[in-house]
Amino acid sequence: MLLHYGSWQKGIDMKLQESTTEAVAATREQRAKAAGRRYRRQQSAFDILIIFLIVQVISVIYGLINPSTFAYNSFANIQNALGAIPVVTGIPALGVGILMIAGEFDLSVGANFIFSSILMAQLNTNGLSVWLAALIGMAVGTGIGLLNGVITLRLGIPSFITTLGTMLIWQAGTLFVHGASSQPFSPSPVVAVLFTENLGVFPADFLWFVVLAIAFWALLQRNRIGNHIFAAGGNKQAATATGVRVDRTKLIAFSLAGACAALGGILSASQIGNIAPSTGDVLPLQAIAACVIGGLALTGGRGTILGIVLGSALIYWISDVLLLIGAPGFYITAPVGILIIAAAAIYEILRARRA
């Protein structure tokens, strides 16, 4: 009886042991999965998404309480915001951001934005089909970006300096081909549908922005080129040592920055019907600011598309709110400045804590 009990007990023990090893393996698997989720969330723009949602909720509630003094929820304000974010900052910032992740800068995006779109408008005014004109504008913008890359890599100088130089050159280029006055642009009706029509509350350029952002996300996170862009910006020596063609990768990023600047300029010209050369001046710094707020590192190798999009939206949000509450327009840049510094500081703290 005792013996019988003993063997029975042994069987139970063995079963217990088996299930414990299984349980250990299962919990290890679960822990690894949970850790993976945590790391992926840290690497996404999760923090800034939360901040963005909080300020939106506060703004919407405040707008509901005071609809007459704070017209945040009005159809016009929402449509204005969705129309302005892509062309004022968003689309050029996507290109600038990808280039920043690759470890380089482009200060010439503003000059490129103006030069490419004015060239397009002029060609169109002189009788060229708007499609061909837009295509040439895009090609010129992409070429300007590529040239920045070639100069930077061939001469081995910082892209900050290269593009500071080309910014001044293309500003002069605009004066040369056009002058300082603004250039009107009225696209033909078919084009107007694609570039300026609204789909409900969504302006056409916002939809372009969304499509472009998704395409760039796929390129950056799900394509070999994206992996190489992160590698080139994160550690050039390591990337070279493992066979990544760093220069070629950077040239792609430079070209994308140029292409985005031109696309932003063309969409803006179609939307506003007019190109004022001076509007390009603040664009490069605003695009870089959007990227910094969106969590991109100035040293390269870090960043997300969602961060760039939300960074662009937050910059617009600040000026929008200040204008709605009737703050003097003169001071509007100051809060943006504070936001940039605060964002950079917060990211640094988070990074230090996670390392």
């Binding site: 822990r31 690894a32 999965k33 850790a35 993976g36 790391y39 992926r40 840290q42 690497q43 796929a218 996170q221 799900r222 394509n223 070999r224 080129i225 992996n227 190489h228 992160f230 590698a231 910006g233 994160g234 550690n235 020596q237 390591a238 990337a239 070279t240 040592a241 493992t242 066979g243 990544v244 590192a297 190798g301 870090r302 996670r354 390392a355």
Partner: protein
């Protein structure tokens, strides 16, 4: 009849042994100057098949330049490199990598701001049409390689950023990368400097198993005891020259120490 057979065998044998004697990699009178500094001075040695070779020497002996020459990062001023008995010229790291030479550096070539999985496949991503990567597969392989080959504590997910790993963990990732892309010649430049004892043992065990599979390794190290324990043959460098060569059976740790310190 039987004589014929004997003759055939004896006629073939020299050819066979000749093939076996062709080293995997041979360096002949390799020279490299950095300005007036003669960092490699008529260096000649070879790496055999299925052997673990130790490249020893004090600081400044020219070991690192030697490693860089073999991995194609540095081009020699004169001399020849023979791979499989055929002269080769490495104009870039890619040329060496194409032949199957993989290098694990002291400062392991990793990108801190990328995940472990993405680092392991950096430059060699598993990609489908149009370059779209198979991220899930890459993550699973990375996780498997880290668990099975370089058993090291504290790496819980291939999605972790390399920047948040310790020095030893980073080395483990670099080794996992080299191991996954099975190469013909593995060069390890001070691989154990940041490794814990257990991880070092695991690495040596792995090098031995690579040797049984016919792969060769070159181990650059300061630790002569480690080298003596695992390596088949030793090349000692001093002031840019090869000062001593011996197999494991011919020498002792004491003798190696003497040659290294004398330079």
């Amino acid at each position: 009849m039987s004589m014929d057979g004997m003759e055939t065998v004896s006629a073939e044998q020299p050819v066979q042994s000749g093939e076996a004697a062709t080293p995997l990699l041979e360096l002949r009178n390799v020279n490299k100057h950095y300005g007036l500094n003669h960092v490699l001075n008529n260096v000649s040695f070879h790496v055999g098949r299925a052997e673990i070779l130790a490249l020893l020497g004090d600081n400044g002996a020219g070991k690192s330049t030697m490693v860089k020459t073999i991995s194609g990062v540095v081009q020699p001023d004169s001399g020849a490199l023979l791979w499989d008995g055929k002269p080769v010229e490495f104009n870039s790291h890619a040329d060496a990598a194409e032949l199957g030479i993989e290098t694990i550096y002291q400062d392991s070539a990793l990108v801190d701001s990328m995940t472990i999985a993405r680092n392991i496949f950096m430059g060699r991503e598993l990609a489908g049409p149009l370059g779209f990567i198979r991220l899930k597969e890459m993550r699973e392989i990375a996780s498997h390689v880290l668990r099975t080959i370089v058993a090291i504590e504290g790496i819980d997910s291939p999605d972790k950023l390399v920047g948040s790993l310790s020095g030893g963990q980073k080395q483990a990732v670099a080794i996992a990368r080299a191991v996954h892309f099975k190469r013909t010649l593995l060069m390890l430049d001070e691989p154990t400097s940041a490794l814990a004892v257990r991880a070092t043992e695991a690495l040596f065990e792995y090098l031995r198993s690579l040797r049984t599979q016919g792969l060769s390794s070159v181990l650059v190290t300061h630790n002569l005891y480690d080298a003596y324990r695992i390596c088949d043959r030793f090349v000692v460098m001093g002031r840019g020259q090869v000062v001593f060569q011996a197999t494991q059976k011919e020498t002792s740790v004491e003798e190696l120490t003497e040659h290294v310190s004398r330079g």
